[in-house]
């Protein structure tokens, strides 16, 4: 079939609702580039808001070299966060809503001020932040085996799923995020670790990138928004029955339990 912005948006939201993965669209629509991907992303956001979800912030994808190498994609992406993606502490990974969830530790900003590009620097971005938290994102992809090109993943809201924030919120002046470390534990074994420097040297650089990128679409980052700055390490699988913990130097720990397998439908 021949695809367009409208039909891809419909198919992606259907895949999400039905927990169904599919091959990437660029196989059948090679012209699906990053610019078109953002148009699809904005269309799916419009439909999410129309059905009652609330826009609460943005997430960045592929901001670390580890993630870029893993996915074979060189540029970071911006995508939308809605309140439907919040996973409160102590709730299991929602296996009944996700296709093949993976967890990655992130540094999270809460915006104190509006931030509008172009020309925003990392320093200006950090000055607009009111609090920083540790957290983790449960990424999910509507593409089989997470196989996609840049246009596909942007259209798919940069593999959004759910996210959890940690127990400590610090003002940015009280923590050096470039040396803030995270230790990732799966079923009790240490599997990976990183510092905030893995996010473009400092996660405020990712925030500046998001502001400048949104400015190209005439948008700004609003006060009060939540910003997920991107996975610090490669993502780990979170199958039913597993447990994942992300321990931060000064931002506390987030814990996930993998929950139970959804019943076959």
């Amino acid at each position: 079939m021949s695809w367009d912005i409208d039909s891809v948006a419909t198919e992606l939201l259907a895949c999400e609702a039905e927990r169904r993965d599919r091959v990437k669209f660029t196989d059948e629509w090679p012209e699906l580039d990053v610019e078109t991907g953002y148009k699809i992303q904005d269309e799916t956001l419009r439909r999410r808001l129309e059905r009652g979800e609330k826009l609460i912030g943005v997430k960045l994808g592929l901001t670390s070299r580890a993630k870029q190498e893993r996915m074979g994609v060189k540029t970071p992406f911006v995508a939308w966060l809605t309140d439907a993606m919040i996973l409160p502490a102590d709730l299991p990974v929602p296996q009944d809503k996700l296709i093949h969830p993976r967890i990655e530790p992130e540094l999270v900003f809460i915006m104190g001020d509006r931030l509008e590009g172009p020309g925003v620097t990392g320093a200006q971005a950090l000055a607009a932040v009111s609090h920083v938290l540790g957290g983790a994102e449960i990424i999910d992809s509507r593409y089989r085996d997470f196989k996609f090109l840049a246009g596909d993943v942007v259209a798919d809201n940069a593999s959004s799923g759910a996210y959890m924030t940690g127990p400590v919120a610090l003002p940015p002046e009280s923590v050096d995020l470039s040396t803030e470390a995270v230790l990732v534990e799966v079923d009790g074994a240490i599997v990976d670790s990183a510092t905030g420097a893995s996010i473009m040297g400092h996660p405020a650089e990712a925030l500046a990138l998001a502001a400048n990128d949104l400015a190209k679409r005439g948008l700004a980052i609003e006060a009060g928004w939540v910003i997920l700055t991107g996975g610090m390490t490669d993502a780990v699988f979170a199958p039913p029955g597993s447990s994942v913990a992300c321990h931060f130097t000064s931002l506390g720990s987030v814990f996930f339990n993998g929950g139970t397998a959804p019943e076959a439908s």
């Binding site: 470390a181 510092t195 893995s198």
Partner: protein, 263 residues
């Protein structure tokens, strides 16, 4: 493997230091070599070095990350000896003519204040024996061609030891949660790796406990003043002449290794 073959393997490895020509993996040259032979071959070389007037200043523990253990197909660390001439000063040019195929790893170094002798050493006793930690960079090197090492090769080769650069800012273990202290490794100003100390056997103190309990039964005590390198927090990085590496440990300070431009 009989003792004459062990002596021969030790001689070949010592020869590789001198000629800077790496040798074939011992597991290829000596197909009968077993795990127990490896530490004996290492000890034969260390005994030679000590006979030449060098002094043991501590130990290193290697193969401590999940990634390295998976790569070599092992589920335990290994150890080597640190001798007095392994230690290089921060910011001073480190000669390049000493290495065959050197690489670098960021670690926190334990400096002991009390003797530590296994078996039976607990985490509590190990922490009690540590005077302070220092930010450190370890130069690892292999006398085995192209780093084609299995666990027997690296143990025989002094656990691929090379050199140590210690930073000058001591921190007591009572002042930090070492497991969650992170490190960012920069090569010529560019970030090449990041990690947290917990990547080292879950907590670097576990390396010290393992070392004390592993060498203890053969009568070896870890001595006050000794330096113990517990294992790398990031992947190792190759070193070229003129390179500068900085390991930034946040609260623990940083340490710089500067390699000479020419031999």
């Amino acid at each position: 493997m009989d003792s004459s073959l062990k002596a021969q393997a030790a001689k070949e490895l010592l020869g590789a230091y001198a000629s800077r020509q790496p040798i074939a993996p011992l597991t290829e040259t000596y197909p009968d070599i077993v795990f127990e032979d490896a530490y004996e071959i290492q000890k034969l070389q260390i005994d030679q070095m000590l006979a030449g007037g060098r002094i043991v200043k501590g130990h290193k523990v290697g193969l401590t990350s999940a990634a390295m253990q998976n790569q070599l197909g092992v589920d335990q660390p290994d150890f080597g000896h640190l001798l007095d001439d392994f230690f290089f000063l921060e910011h001073m040019p480190i000669p390049m003519d000493r290495w065959l195929q050197a690489r670098i790893e960021p670690e926190v170094a334990f400096v002991l204040g009390k003797p530590l002798k296994g078996p039976g050493v607990t985490v509590a006793e190990a922490i009690q024996a540590v005077d302070f930690v220092l930010p450190a960079l370890e130069i690892v090197d292999s006398r085995i061609k192209d780093w084609k090492i299995g666990i027997i090769d690296t143990i025989s080769d002094n656990a691929s030891s090379g050199g140590v650069i210690l930073g000058g800012s001591p921190t007591r273990l009572t002042d930090v949660d070492l497991r969650l202290v992170g490190c960012t490794l920069l090569k010529n100003g560019q970030i090449v790796g990041t990690g947290a100390n917990g990547a080292v056997l879950g907590n670097p103190i576990n390396s010290l406990v393992w070392l004390a309990n592993t060498v203890g039964p053969s009568g070896v005590t870890l001595e006050p003043g000794h330096v113990v390198l517990p294992g790398s927090v990031t992947k190792m990085q190759p070193i070229a002449a003129g390179d500068t590496f900085v390991a930034n440990w946040g609260a623990l300070g940083s340490v710089t290794a500067r390699f000479a431009k020419e031999n």
